[in-house]
């Protein structure tokens, strides 16, 4: 039986006073744990939803080590390599997912079209299905490790006054993240499965390094990349690093950066840099990521049923619409479309100029009439993936050298 949970919702609301309300515990990151999401979920589902918001690295660590502390875990596919293999999660039965058959091809088969380049690194389909022996892979089966939800392609943002638009605008290149014109005003995202690739794309774009497989670097390649970054750091290229959107926005508000790694929602919060900081559609392509929701190994009984209701809610439309307003795509776009205005849909998914001012998740205007999304429509942007956020084979090594580098950046060490 498929559980949409509508009858149970009514039952819960009718519970007599004094009986504890049912509660679902969700652990995740700022990508998806917005107060608007929680409020909407509680309204639609009729039970309490508790959010525990953590930064990427801490979220992954505690999800692996404390699976008893949450029922649903929201993060990105790349970190299944950590959390799944710690044994912290349980399989999701796709027969209990109402929209499973209508989900987009990107996650279920690996690309937006049969001919689209898949990108280096680990495409989410490679971590989707549970395979014999407890591995994850792309061979379809009934059980999955994470329900694919939001996704996007990321790049960096830049100050056009520094990099020049004017008469002959140049196509932005990842090389700008290491450009002398921005020396002292460059910041990177501090997450080794993400920021390391921004830096690697930059190092390849400047021509200084070349990776045999940028999605699975060797120790020698990681060392070469870190040596290059350390050299730039000593020359004073980097002004800082950030771990969440708020910190990225703060660097912009303080006027400290001319170019930095960026996440989509931050473009709605540029403060004094509004109009002075542009999203790049890099010549080399994007760094892509795919988020999702998983079930804790410990979820059972009523909690497990609530968790499935919540997963189904994710794909039913309203969640996808809220996510779209901060620039994220959903795996069931047609359902989200029913909850968006035609102007919103045209701007966020079709790459059309905004017909009017558009609100973000909180209702505040984040897009001005006439603006166009960098990179264009959904298919256009998703067809240009250079690399996926990836937990590489040598991840453990990469994390430790990356952390030491970031500590030096943040300490402003000589």
């Amino acid at each position: 039986m498929r559980s949409t949970g509508k009858t149970e919702v009514n039952g819960a609301l009718a519970a007599p006073p004094g009986v504890a309300r049912r509660r679902l515990r969700v652990r995740g990151t700022s990508i998806t744990l917005l107060s608007q999401m929680r409020e909407q979920a509680e309204r639609d589902l009729g039970f309490r939803v508790d959010y525990e918001l953590l930064d990427f690295v801490e979220c992954q660590r505690r999800a692996a080590l404390e699976p008893e502390a949450y029922d649903v875990y929201e993060h990105c596919f790349q970190n299944l390599d950590i959390v799944w293999f710690w044994g912290a999660l349980q399989p999701i039965d796709t027969q209990r997912i109402v929209e499973w058959d209508s989900m987009s091809d990107l996650t279920k088969t690996g690309g937006v079209s049969k001919y689209a380049w898949r990108g280096h690194g680990d495409a989410p389909v490679g971590k989707l299905y549970i395979q014999p022996g407890g591995f994850l892979g792309d061979r379809p089966g009934r059980q999955i490790a994470m329900l694919p939800t939001v996704h996007n392609v990321d790049s960096f943002g830049f100050d056009p006054r520094v990099f020049g638009t004017g008469e002959a605008p140049r196509t932005p290149s990842w090389a700008w993240l290491l450009d002398p014109r921005a020396k002292g005003r460059i910041a990177l995202v501090d997450e080794p499965a993400i920021g390391l690739f921004d830096a690697a794309l930059a190092a390849e774009a400047t021509g200084e390094l070349s990776f045999a497989d940028i999605g699975n670097m060797t120790i020698a390649e990681i060392d070469a990349l870190m040596a290059l970054l350390e050299d730039r750091r000593r020359q004073g290229y980097f002004c800082g690093s950030w771990r969440n959107g708020e910190d990225a926005a703060r660097l912009l508000h303080e006027g400290r950066v001319a170019v930095q790694s960026m996440w989509s929602p931050v473009y709605g919060d540029l403060g004094p840099m509004t109009g002075l900081f542009a999203e790049a559609a890099p010549a080399e392509g994007y760094r892509a990521w795919h988020g999702g929701a998983s079930l804790s190994r410990h979820a059972a009984g009523a909690e497990l049923d609530m968790a499935y209701e919540y997963l189904n809610w994710w794909l039913a439309g309203r969640a996808g619409a809220i996510m779209a307003r901060q620039g994220y795509y959903i795996s069931t776009p047609e359902r989200a479309r029913t909850q968006m205005t035609p102007e919103e849909w045209a701007y966020w998914y079709e790459g059309a100029p905004a017909a009017c001012d558009l609100p973000g998740p909180s209702g505040q205007i984040v897009v001005r009439a006439g603006a166009r999304r960098a990179g264009g429509a959904y298919r256009e942007r998703l067809s240009r993936i250079a690399v996926w956020n990836t937990v590489m084979e040598e991840y453990n090594y990469a994390v430790r050298v990356w952390d030491r580098f970031i500590q030096r950046v943040n300490a402003g060490a000589p």
Binding site: Q60, W86, F135, Y397
Partner: protein
């Protein structure tokens, strides 16, 4: 300069053990038909089982002892119709020359501290590259530098440390590549050794361990790996091959112990594979077991690579032994 006065301390242990057993057989202290088992002899000599195994194989080659239906060897030349005499070897007045005993003891000194150091050195590599300073290790352990050198030599032999160009002892970093290469080598040589070993495999022991899978909750993944090695692969009549396989496995098992010690979850799925493997070895043509072993090792390689990734969530702040200096 501190140097041990006993020249025998430089001899390989299996040589010393062979010598002791050979003389005791020759002088009749160990009677014909007595069942010789690795474990009790190792305990008596205060050594590991590996050198005892080598010693017994040498004595077999010399025709002083021979194999029979059961576990172990019988004293006496092959073909001698003697009934197996199962008694504790300590019941016989075995003579161990003082010099040999002393030599084994000297070697024993480093053994007392070795396991601890190995664990600390294997663990630190997970976090990166570390230098080991001889004098600091000696102070930490409260032993002489001679003993420290024995320990370091053993660590080097096991592939846990190496000397860098400036002659410093370096541990780590432990990489996915190292693990992948070790498993590739295993998948090449171990199925071949298993085929060679077929006529000599200790089938009763294989059946016994197979029956414990699922029934004995204390049975570890490591015990199964050891059984595969000791009861099956190590029986191959090619000592060079067996030695190479043993050495290749040393780092892998040290790393596995270190990772488990850091709190990584156990792998329950692997148990089923060992059950199938031991079943094939015990009941079916050896080719099927060899093919299954090759497959099993590919899967174990993937599992170990996955384990190397998840270590990343364990923070470096845990206290490492003071003689390890991050590089």
């Amino acid at each position: 300069m501190i140097r041990t006065a006993n020249p025998l301390a430089q001899e390989p242990r299996y040589e010393l053990i062979t010598q002791v057993l050979r003389e005791n057989i020759a002088e009749g202290r160990l009677p014909p038909g007595l069942v010789l088992l690795e474990g009790p002899i190792a305990a008596l000599m205060q050594t590991s089982r590996a050198p005892v195994q080598s010693a017994l194989r040498r004595l077999q080659a010399e025709g002083l002892i021979h194999r029979f239906e059961g576990r172990g060897f019988l004293v006496g030349p092959p073909g001698a119709e003697v009934a197996p005499l199962r008694r504790d070897i300590r019941d016989f007045a075995l003579e161990i020359p003082a010099a040999v005993d002393d030599a084994l003891q000297v070697r024993g000194t480093w053994r007392h501290v070795y396991d601890q150091v190995e664990e600390e050195v294997a663990t630190c590599q997970v976090f990166g590259e570390y230098r080991i300073v001889e004098t600091e290790l000696a102070d930490y352990l409260g032993v002489s530098r001679t003993v420290v050198r024995d320990v370091l030599a053993r660590l080097q032999e096991r592939g846990l440390i190496q000397k860098n160009p400036s002659s410093h002892w370096i541990a780590g970093p432990l990489t996915a590549r190292t693990l992948r290469e070790k498993f590739e080598l295993r998948a090449i040589v171990e199925p071949a050794a298993l085929r060679l070993a077929a006529p000599h495999i200790r089938y009763a022991a294989v059946e016994a361990i197979r029956n414990r899978i699922g029934a004995d909750p204390d049975l570890t993944w490591e015990a199964l790996e050891d059984a595969l090695m000791d009861e099956c692969i190590a029986q191959a009549p090619n000592t060079t091959l067996v030695e190479m396989i043993r050495n290749n496995r040393l780092l892998l098992s040290a790393v596995n112990r270190a990772l488990t010690g850091l709190g990584l979850p156990p792998d329950d799925i692997a148990l089923d594979q060992y059950r199938t493997l031991f079943h094939l070895i015990a009941r079916h043509p050896i080719d099927s077991a060899a093919e299954y072993l090759r497959d099993h090792l590919h899967i174990m390689a993937r599992k170990n690579l996955a384990r190397m990734k998840i270590v990343a969530v364990i923070s470096e702040t845990r206290k490492l032994a003071p003689y390890l200096t991050p590089q």
